[in-house]
Symmetry: C2
Subunit: 257 residues, 2 copies
Amino acid sequence: MTEQITVVKIGGNVLDDAGALARFVAAFAALPGRKILIHGGGKLATRLAGRLELETKMVDGRRITDKGTLDVVTMVYAGLVNKQLVAALQAAGCNALGLSGADGNVVRASRRKAEPVDYGFVGDIQAVDDGLLRKLLEAGIVPVFCAILHDGKGSLLNCNADSVASAVALAAARIAPTDLVYCFEKRGVLRDPADEGSVIAAITTESFVTLRTEGVVSKGMLPKIETALRAVAEGVRSVRIKHADDLLNDHGTIIRP
Amino acid sequence: MTEQITVVKIGGNVLDDAGALARFVAAFAALPGRKILIHGGGKLATRLAGRLELETKMVDGRRITDKGTLDVVTMVYAGLVNKQLVAALQAAGCNALGLSGADGNVVRASRRKAEPVDYGFVGDIQAVDDGLLRKLLEAGIVPVFCAILHDGKGSLLNCNADSVASAVALAAARIAPTDLVYCFEKRGVLRDPADEGSVIAAITTESFVTLRTEGVVSKGMLPKIETALRAVAEGVRSVRIKHADDLLNDHGTIIRP
């Protein structure tokens, strides 16, 4: 079985926009070949935490996941967002099946050390079980991952969805040639954040150093590109960063080793 | 492959009690053979709805599931309760995998007619896919179901967990001999609700008529016994109603055709 696998990550801003989400679901369902979806969902969790009067604590732009926050992100990501996406994909003829990392022990993580900053119930990915992924894909199932993982000792852990997408793509690459696509609300990596026409066509390890030195790439984009570069270096065939509306065409930024 | 299957339903009161839940998880993990878990989670949902200032509307003891309530039960049942159970079972060495009815289209429902009472986003079970169940069980996976189903047209639907347990057990019975166990916080069906020693050892279709006529069986227990009687009539090998602490012994009430 050598049919290629496409791993798609869909960002929170697309999930927050009903029209954009409906277009994305239709496009993802139409994507040929075997495929896997990974989703975020940050803003919904922040809104629910606000309604529950939980304080959202951030350090250096990262959310601190205390027990109350862990429950909220588990409810929103693994519950509401995951099941709404799965139901919408089923209606579009795509045999989706939602997963957290705990389900079938498919993605195990370890809780991040409390030094220098204690981020709470936040995990770093340890292992992805390609055996279960292979069985699901062989059964014609489309796994839909949220970024809630577990430590194997009974604790759920919050994780970064971009990192989950990369780790799942690397596991998929052990099964068949795998392409990873990061979909969000921009046309790609932009040279000028205000100009949607300034998409950088390709980024390599070498050109990334220049872009970073020149300060061209904006702060939030840096970890996404670093994750993408690692993924292609370690065995993912290609990584693209593109607008969710461009899923079925070849627009956007391609990341090469 | 003729190894028997045990389908266990765990009620909301056990989920609400950390000690009782920990004991149940250990017992369920120790249960020999292939197995499937179905869980409720009612009180957590009511508490969250309260904190979100959603009004819980009831007609004849049944919750009206408007859109806000559907989102809450999806978050609590498919998110928090399901993933906490799966993580706890994984820690106990049981390869659990959480499912709503939408996942893999495993349990499809249709929205209940709005006459005579419009219960909102409430579903009646249409079909359980034993093909996916078989594949999961063959892979050594323990499916863990919440009672959130879907209509195949993109809508999630809230359902009764006792009914999901019965429908899943009937599907499992097409794979191998299947026993269904309803676990809750009582020692079985009691002749006197105030006396835990008054467990009725066995109920048949015939004795149920007498118990109902005499008013011995309490109101909330009636639909549970009716569902159990239907399950044994339609192919489930046995149904027991028992205390969660009695999962590994043969105490409780046995339901016979």
